[in-house]
Symmetry: C2
Subunit: 320 residues, 2 copies
């Protein structure tokens, strides 16, 4: 049997694992990304952790390569470019460093492109060739697939839909701009919306006893499910902004489906209903009639990052 290593580099956690082409994961682990201010000791740790968890019956010679999903990762040249939520600045030649340490081919792309590839290989996009995946975590990432291929873009940075504009005078974004979609539609975005709504309205809310730092998407989702007005309104607002911007996305590449992946997507109808309603409402009439479906991802949250990253190996390294 052949194997692939998948590494997902997130602002909080780095997740890694080893799987086969059928998507079975044989071992996985994680470390805290922020504890490593230098890239080489960080990759060293990932290497050692993987070495310790990979089952002894897996031969190094059967591992075909390493796929890596990371924010601001450039598929073309294998670098990370000033990732705002990661501890390493400027241009990091990540693929090269990983290749040297592991003595294996390495391929990187942004985490949302990896997620889109994972969705196409193992998830709900298995038989689709034209779709968009939005990964809604701390930020909002996106991967665009056209005719079965990820769109990487000329400079390697395609699919940054989280940084399209909602409001030129809107919320400050980690990227340096104002009013980016990700400041509204993300775990951080809905938290900001909850706080805005608690400021605007008088209604009591389960969320009023929780500090900004402690407020999680899960807590807001549970509050909404229990009928909490502020939580419900926060999802309505989030869904409205999302649906409105999705109507812009759709007229670009005319996809069959858009998949939502990540914590926010677990709110189910609280997010999907206003998002679908506003997508349809703001869509150019020619595209209306639910031609494009807005759906949850088909991958388990725990598996998605590793399967997404490792699917890079099956697509690009195995094929060589």
């Amino acid at each position: 049997m052949k194997y692939a290593i998948g590494i997902d580099i997130g602002g909080t956690n780095t997740k890694f694992g080893i799987s086969n082409e059928q998507g079975e994961i044989f071992a996985q682990g994680k470390i805290k990304t922020q504890e490593y201010s230098e890239i080489k000791p960080y990759i060293d740790t990932v290497y050692k952790e993987l070495e310790s968890i990979i089952p002894s019956n897996i031969d190094h010679a059967d591992i075909l390569g390493i796929g890596i999903g990371a924010p601001n990762a450039n598929f073309h040249d294998g670098t990370l470019v000033n990732p705002p939520n990661l501890p390493w600045k400027n241009i990091v030649p990540l693929a090269e460093i990983v290749k040297e340490r592991f003595e294996l081919p390495a391929i990187i792309t942004n985490d949302a492109n990896a997620a889109a590839l994972g969705e196409m290989t193992y998830g709900n996009a298995k038989h689709l060739k034209d779709f968009v995946v939005l990964t809604v975590g701390t930020g909002l990432g996106s991967g665009i697939v056209i005719n079965g291929e990820i769109v990487y873009g000329y400079h390697g940075f395609a699919g940054e839909l989280g940084h399209t504009l909602v409001n030129a005078n809107g919320r400050f974004c980690g990227c340096g701009k104002r009013g980016c979609l990700e400041t509204y539609v993300s775990a951080t975005g809905i938290r900001r919306t909850v706080y805005k709504l608690m400021a605007d309205y008088n209604e009591p809310s389960l969320l009023r006893s929780i500090s900004f730092d402690d407020l999680s998407t899960k807590t807001i989702t549970e509050a909404a499910k229990r009928g909490d007005h502020i939580a419900i309104e926060a999802f309505k607002y989030t869904g409205r902004v999302l649906g409105m911007k999705l109507s812009d996305f759709v007229v670009h590449t005319d996809p069959q489906a858009i998949f939502l992946l990540g914590g926010l997507a677990k709110a189910g109808k609280h997010l999907f209903e206003p998002a679908r309603e506003n997508l349809e409402k703001f869509l150019m009439p020619m595209f209306r009639g639910r031609k494009v479906r807005l759906l949850p991802s088909g991958l388990k949250d725990d598996d998605a990052p590793i399967l997404g990253a490792s699917s890079l190996v099956w697509k690009y390294i195995n094929a060589k």
Copy 2:
């Protein structure tokens, strides 16, 4: 020598001509689209006109096919779908009708996709593989090219950037929505802006003596070149809206360049300067530094529609 017929169906004029693969046009003509309430007599007229102008030394057997650019044209199934500015409603099986009348293969796509193909074959995008063409005429059309291929989309409707949202409570659009980009950035859009500015400001203007119906992009451009305040501000406003939305487009497909084609693009610096400035300003920082160029089309306005449409023949029919 082999030849291709190109037909460009616009809301006002239908232009047609015959050219070779090098882009030499041997004959061209036009008719008024709106004079034909039925599609078959319209195609009959195009056929007869072409028959009368095609030089007698061109053998029918050397004409490889017909390429057609038209609004709301579906590349996949050869139909026109409810084109808002054309006299024929519902679904028109245009490729089929043309094929039967001319006894030649026919291929259609929206006019902006045809323009993008023309730009790639004969214009300023000759050596580019990742770019966007915006055709700024009565409306605003767009063609997206990724890795040398036009993006048609799953339903055949990709590249309708004119109908992305500028302002949810904005100007009424012919498509049925409000606040579409094309209501701001188009020949009609800048005319609306001039009228809005004449209402808002006191300044005298060369444009105050011209009725809405008579006001052309050319007149506004000439007024701007002569220092007319209202005309200059109208271009600034148009460029600002355009630049702002371009920053959204860029993070989708990460192109090398964006080309502007059509009357509005002739305003030169009056449009390009504020557009470039606002594109850079609203762009996600990772994309900044003039990575994407905003440029005028390299095709002559008279030739572009015919060369764009006929390039469909060289790309898809000749290749078969």
